[in-house]
């Protein structure tokens, strides 16, 4: 029944002179999202609006699902096109449309015409009145309510005439690519994919980094992270995943530092390496899935100790979320099932029974002094052997 979609966007509208940048980015993201949908689409800006028009047959459900994942879209309006064959034919078409789109036919409505083509014989007000009359005649159980209608029936007169009344909510946010790039520390757990999703929703392009510790973590654990990156990429667009071999660094820390400080020191080195690669690849910040108090390494003291090694902003979108709230989002974005696959347990060898929960930075720094001899070389090797996987 529908031939195109009118895309409603929110915050972009208030972006002043940069507005076109945001709109262009949104057009690009919509094109990308519709690529894998059955059918062919033309996506374009016109008079301050964005349209996605199908050329011929297309899979409606699939298109809606794809558009619902494009950040920046606030609402998706499925549109019916009719040729201009006079007002009588138009009113018939609108009546048909109402029967299909709102089959209950007992709601309140308002006709909202917009005459973009000025040579149409009736002006907007006349269309509103006459069409309202026709509809009231056709559907005696419907009523007009111009202030708070159940159905806002839009009729736009352009080359063709566009009819729409439904708004399917989009994800909101800002189009990806309009807010720079950041590096996500992706672990394979529940939190970090959610963190990536949330920052991406603000228009930030995402790269990711994963610390792999063979033989302590398996090839399947790595594949799981790749799979998670692909799931986040459904929203964020392609993700460049950096896989860092962390085994030697981990073992070296294990050898030289007190075991209860192991996790904190390890995380500090992860942050250092992530920041290094972020700088090299044009990311402006780091993203983590940390949440205050969730585990020993995420107490306020631990977070401070981890944060101390970077100068880049570290974005922690789920910092004050309860676990259940994070789980809810991960289920919504379809990463939960993958996140809970049990492939990581071999790493438990490095977890102390009673890790420090309130690390003292000075003590941690003193412990790190024990690493001076070889750590720079190990980091250098880890960075040099960085494996990049494009997750799309």
């Amino acid at each position: 029944m529908f031939q195109s979609f009118l895309i409603k966007y929110g915050e972009i509208g208030i972006k002043g002179k940069n507005r076109f940048l945001f709109e262009d980015a949104l057009v690009k993201q919509i094109k990308h999202a519709l690529k894998n949908v059955d059918g062919e689409f033309e996506v374009f800006k016109q008079q301050g609006r964005i349209y996605a028009e199908a050329i011929g047959e297309f899979d409606y459900e699939e298109a809606i699902e794809a558009l619902k994942k494009v950040f920046g879209i606030v609402g998706i309006c499925p549109v019916v096109h009719v040729e201009d064959e006079g007002f009588e034919m138009l009113s018939q078409a609108v009546t048909e449309y109402m029967k299909k789109a709102h089959p209950e036919l007992n709601q309140t409505f308002k006709v909202n015409a917009r005459r973009a083509r000025k040579n149409y014989p009736l002006d907007s007000m006349q269309i509103n009145c006459s069409m309202g009359e026709k509809l009231l005649e056709a559907f005696p159980d419907m009523k007009v309510d111009v202030h708070n209608p159940d159905i806002m029936l839009n009729i736009e007169i352009r080359e063709k005439i566009y009819i729409y009344s439904q708004i399917i909510p989009g994800p909101g946010g800002m189009p990806v690519g309009t807010n720079g790039k950041a590096m996500l520390l992706l672990s394979g757990g529940i939190d970090s994919p959610v963190a990536g999703y949330m920052v991406s929703k603000r228009g930030v392009k995402i790269d990711a980094i994963y610390f792999h510790a063979p033989p302590y973590t398996s090839e399947r654990a790595k594949q799981k992270v790749v799979d998670l990156a692909k799931l986040v990429a459904v929203y964020s667009g392609p993700i460049y995943l950096h896989v860092i071999n962390f085994t030697d660094i981990q073992l070296y820390i294990y050898e030289k530092c007190p075991h209860e400080e192991l996790t904190i020191i390890m995380r500090r080195y992860m942050m250092r390496i992530a920041e290094h690669i972020a700088k090299e690849t044009g990311s402006l910040g780091l993203i983590t899935g940390e949440s205050i108090g969730q585990v020993a390494s995420q107490t306020m003291q631990s977070l401070a100790a981890t944060n101390e090694v970077c100068t880049m902003p570290v974005i922690r979108p789920v910092i004050s979320f309860d676990k259940q709230d994070i789980v809810d989002i991960s289920q919504k974005i379809n990463t939960y099932e993958t996140s809970i696959l049990p492939f990581e347990d071999c790493c438990t060898i490095f977890v102390a029974k009673h890790p420090v929960t309130k690390p003292n930075i000075n003590i941690i720094k003193r412990s790190e002094k024990n690493l001076e001899e070889k750590i720079d070389e190990l980091i250098e090797t880890a960075i040099r052997t960085d494996e990049v996987i494009i997750c799309d």
Binding site: P214, P215, Y216, T217, S218, E219, L251, Y254, E255, H259, P342, D345, C346, T348, I349, F350, A352, K353
Partner: protein, 384 residues
């Protein structure tokens, strides 16, 4: 060097088998149920495979049924026999170290109102025949015990078990899961007193997705899959002709020069056990002599997590299994290792090495050298 020592999980397909399977898929692709020539030709492959397998087991061709693999064979035998014979009684007997495809079929039958006795095993993985004798009762209709255990290679006393059961009541059915044993032992169901026998294709260098169930013609079982009535209604569904042709040929090839090949395997096993004994902190689980299977060795390593050792070996292209392959994706500990009394701290420190006829002494030497190199490194980083 690539060193595949996980042949109890699956084996590489014989080149000849692969070619035959491909030919049947692309040239003789008919449906055996079709009435035209294409169908008749496809049927010939079924017949041929049946002949090979029946001759190998010295049984009648009509006692051979093809399934989708070992799991289905075990399910069909156990559930099919239980359902067909429940009027005679609702008691089943099995061992504590069966494969999940037997274990979970038994669990399902328990839910359906059957009573199941799980016989304990000794530290070598062998059931106690006295315990079996005690468990048998008037209600017993089926005993299912595996020939060779998939995790430790324990070989069960098949003939003695059969004699004991049949002496108690000749109507009790005896099913043997021979998935790990077939191809490594000469199995003659009729002489050994086996009523039903499960075989899998991909454990004997054949294709995956095909298995065999031998059912003695006097035994009544109910099908568990319903449809077009193929294979005398015992197993509906269009026959997997390429797979069936493949398993037939794989059986034939497996038993070529059989005694020499088994001798070789035992020699390799002996060598591996001797050498691994020289490495500190290793324990072999189960029997080390010729009373256990020639191709499976279970070793526990002190202070090493089996999964970590597995991945460390993997980095040297050596492929082994941590416990049983079917259990290794789950953090659960192996029921078999528990049942044979492996020490608690070694339960997740146990690795299975399993050989094929293609395994060479050089590969084993390479693997042993790798172990000697890896183990001290891994043991540096103990858990607390």
């Amino acid at each position: 060097m690539e060193c595949y020592l996980d042949n109890s999980a699956t084996t590489k397909c014989f080149e000849e088998v692969k070619n035959l399977v491909a030919d049947v898929m692309t040239k003789d692709y008919g449906n055996p149920s079709s009435m035209h020539r294409k169908g008749v030709e496809a049927e010939k492959f079924m017949k041929q495979a049946k002949e090979i397998i029946a001759a190998n087991l010295k049984v009648n061709e009509k006692e051979i049924f093809f399934t989708s693999g070992g799991t289905e064979s075990n399910n069909l035998a156990i559930i099919g026999a239980a359902m067909a014979n429940m009027r005679a009684g609702k008691h089943l007997i099995t061992s504590a170290i069966e494969h999940p495809s037997v274990m979970n079929a038994m669990k399902y039958l328990e839910e359906q109102g059957f009573l199941v006795t799980y016989l304990p095993v000794d530290h070598n993985g062998i059931i106690d025949l006295e315990k079996l004798k005690e468990a048998l009762c008037d209600e017993t209709i089926l005993v299912s015990i595996m020939y060779v255990n998939n995790e430790i290679g324990a070989a069960s006393p098949v003939e003695e078990t059969a004699q004991l059961i049949k002496k108690f009541n000749p109507n009790i059915l005896y099913h043997v899961d021979a998935i790990q044993a077939f191809g490594k032992y000469r199995i003659l169901p009729k002489r050994q007193g086996i009523d039903m026998l499960s075989i899998s294709g991909h454990k004997i260098n054949g294709p995956k997705g095909v298995g065999v169930l031998y059912v003695n013609e006097k035994v009544k079982i109910r099908p568990i899959i319903f449809g077009g009535g193929q294979q005398k209604g015992m197993r509906s569904g269009t026959e997997n002709v390429p797979g069936v042709a493949g398993i037939g040929l794989a059986v034939q090839l497996s038993y070529c020069d059989f005694n020499e090949k088994i001798e070789c395997l035992y020699e390799l096993k002996q060598y591996f056990i001797e050498e691994i004994g020289k490495i500190e902190g290793t324990t072999i689980n189960g029997k080390t002599d010729r009373k256990s299977a020639p191709h499976i060795i279970s070793v526990s390593f002190d202070d090493v997590k089996s999964e970590v050792l597995l991945h460390a070996l993997e980095s040297k292209c050596i492929y082994v299994s941590a416990g049983s392959a079917c259990a290794s994706n789950k953090p659960a500990v192996s029921q078999t290792l528990k049942a044979i009394g492996v020490k608690k701290e070694l339960l997740d420190s146990t690795v299975r090495f399993s050989f094929s006829f293609e395994t060479t002494k050089e590969e084993l030497t390479y693997c042993l050298e790798a172990l000697k190199e890896i183990l001290p490194k891994l043991r540096l980083y103990k858990r607390h």
